[in-house]
Symmetry: none
Subunit: 112 residues, 10 copies
């Protein structure tokens, strides 16, 4: 579902930051909606992510029951498998639930 387009400048190391303050999913234990801000930072190799498809891809989580840790890591995996970037980092900051707020940080630097 994630679309990519060719990076016209693969000979150059440059970075792209994408901020999505409108992420929402569902808590797998309570069935209640969760809300968070996702911040991506990546260095493209042969491909760039097409932003509209990223938006549609993130909307798939809207009615899905899933833990914060799994959201963050699964999105990183999906992006790595589609984009094959040089480096990618994702910070997912979720709003308070029961007086507790959580932020998950995942950084991918080329591991398998």
């Amino acid at each position: 579902m994630l679309e990519i387009f060719e990076n016209s400048f693969p000979h150059r190391d440059y970075s792209i930051e994408i901020v999505c303050p409108e992420f929402t999913s569902v808590c797998p234990k309570t069935g209640q909606p969760d809300f968070g801000t996702l911040t991506f930072l990546y260095v493209p190799d042969k491909w760039c992510i097409e932003l509209k498809s990223l938006k549609m891809y993130l909307q798939q989580f809207r009615n899905q029951g899933i833990f914060y840790e799994d959201i963050t890591n699964r999105i990183v995996d999906d992006l790595v498998n589609t984009l094959h970037p040089r480096r990618l980092k994702l910070t997912a900051a979720f709003t308070p639930r029961g007086g507790i707020s959580t932020t998950v940080n995942v950084e991918w630097t080329g591991e398998k």
Copy 2:
């Protein structure tokens, strides 16, 4: 009482930050309530902490008489013994008592 769930991404070093601004316990000397903000930062190994159980666990201190230093270190010990994280840090910032405010910082990096 602390519940854990399997970390689906143990091959990856990533961090989870949890902020709990609504911690309360009781002063062992005066019997008066204490209030503070707990900030956790940890790198999971095989397990992640389930947030609702963390909330319930922290509520156990509500009517318990205990020093700031003991609260902070005991919570670190309980989390380390249950989670077996790679690294864990806890900052506990308590509100003023008698015009004096206290913050305790504990960082666990794998010691026994």
Copy 3:
């Protein structure tokens, strides 16, 4: 279209920062206008960029359909080919689209 004028002080390494908060182009997929702030930082060699011509040059993108990544890299290429600077860096921060905002960073340090 980019005009340059002779750098009267080529024996000296000094830097020029230029901020353009009124950049606009058109999204190649939706035909909708995009808006962003471009921040240049460069060290001139024999030439400096004439600011009015830079303004006119950036206005060429006003009705052009082009991706964020291509805008940023193409402007870097055009400036490098015209100015032959010692170093040049461009940060392009675009406003939110569909709740998602993007920033592209390109740094040129003498590569071909």
Copy 4:
């Protein structure tokens, strides 16, 4: 007068910050009251300072004529001699007198 209690976690290096914005003493030259904020940061060894006794201890200076430099160093000495901490730092920021404000910084790292 300073009471201590056993540090239940001496196998661990952790820090305790204590802020006392309500310190007051008397100027030895003019007999006028002085006011300041004391900020302690220490790493306990076998003992922790009991906060209520610290408050009482600091109140002893309330009607005592003493210079800023002596206050700060004497408190450090008293705490070091009672607590035997691993490290201790004290910053004492006093309010303006005659349009002049003074801050004294003392850091103890194990010297005799």
Copy 5:
């Protein structure tokens, strides 16, 4: 103890604001020190308050056990009886005790 000096401009209604952030007294129940900021606003008639004597007068409370409400009203009474101002207002804002902070407002407008 409060000294006054002649108001050289009694034909004019004008106001004087005095802020004392270093007020301290003692709690009559616990014997512990209290701290607060006193803000006076008055319109003089025949007399003005001499500031150094006001400072000395306020220092009398330093070791006196007295309730917040009594402090504020007694100071208003003393000033009214000495100064005979046209109007006088006193706001006494005390620092938190047991997590509770208190402000007492007294306004005198010529009543007996």
Copy 6:
């Protein structure tokens, strides 16, 4: 010493605000320097105050022993007698002395 120049627009009610943050005089009791910010707001009639002469006039207080209340009222009187403005207001905010800061407000609206 205060110079005035003709108001070329006396048929119009308009206001002039002048802020002097560098006022200094001497305390008549201690001989110590005082510092304050004077803020004037006036509506001119036939004359405007010349600013350089106002600066020189205020410098006359530099080594003069005088109370805050007298400074403020005397300056108002001098300005009223020289300028004959339609309205004039002066706020004099002095820096803390002995932990106490004072602001004097005088408003002249045509009284004798």
Copy 7:
């Protein structure tokens, strides 16, 4: 020199605010440059002020020796005589000279 263009909406009372932070003139006493921010607020009648001509008009003061009060009132007069607005207000805030800063406020509401 001030150009106007026809107000296409004279049947409607609406306001136009214009802020010019780059005003400069010369002090008539010292020959030194003065700097200020002019803020206009007006309700047009049959005419609007053309902005480029306003900029050119204000530049005429660049090398002219003139008092703050005269600048502000003269500009109001020139605008009133050219524009014949329904209402016009000008605030001229000048930067400090000799530690003194001045703001002149003129409001025109239809007087002759």
Copy 8:
């Protein structure tokens, strides 16, 4: 081009605020692009404005030469003629040109 849809709650006076920070048009004198933020506030009667059509409508100005005052009033007229609101206010704040920034305020309250 502006589309409307039926207000389902015409029996109630309520307000709608719409902020468009990405408005751009062209200066009729210089041919250079202008940029501004439009802020609408209206009370609907029988109809509400459809937001996507408002966006398309505003994009019509993208390459049109038009004065600030005309932009603001014309948009108000078009909205009034299409929407027939109870009240409508438009504030158009444009970015600086030649060191001068302009804001136009139009308020429609039922006039013809």
Copy 9:
């Protein structure tokens, strides 16, 4: 035109920072005035710059047509040739023109 006076403390390396927020010159292409803030930081050797002469020197640019880059470098050259400082740095931050703002940084460290 730049006056210097003898540095009475040449045996010591110390720094002097001078901020001039009221610089103005003229654009050589459009004849329109430019405005900027100049920030100097230098370490004197045998001479210090006299501030009033620096003010007069900078006023020479008031009606001169000159590019930002040339202003900044020429002032550096003039200061270096007159002062012979140990080190000198100049940052010139100009206000926006055509929606574009520019800052030039020049650092002189003893080159010929």
Copy 10:
């Protein structure tokens, strides 16, 4: 004139910061008063500076004509010669004159 008292803790390296926002002297060229904030930071050796004498010492400059650079260096010299500190730093930030503000930084680290 500067008084010192014995440092009771010479075996310890600790620092004392003193801020004096009410410094004033006279410009040797114009005879006009200058104003500034002096910030001292020193590490005492055998002696500490007595604050009241520092205040009196600084007041000696009140009516003295002296350049900023000389003020700062002379005060450093006087303090070094009286105190014989281990290290001393003085930052003197003066208010704007003629639109220009100046800060002098002197750091003494044991040179002769």
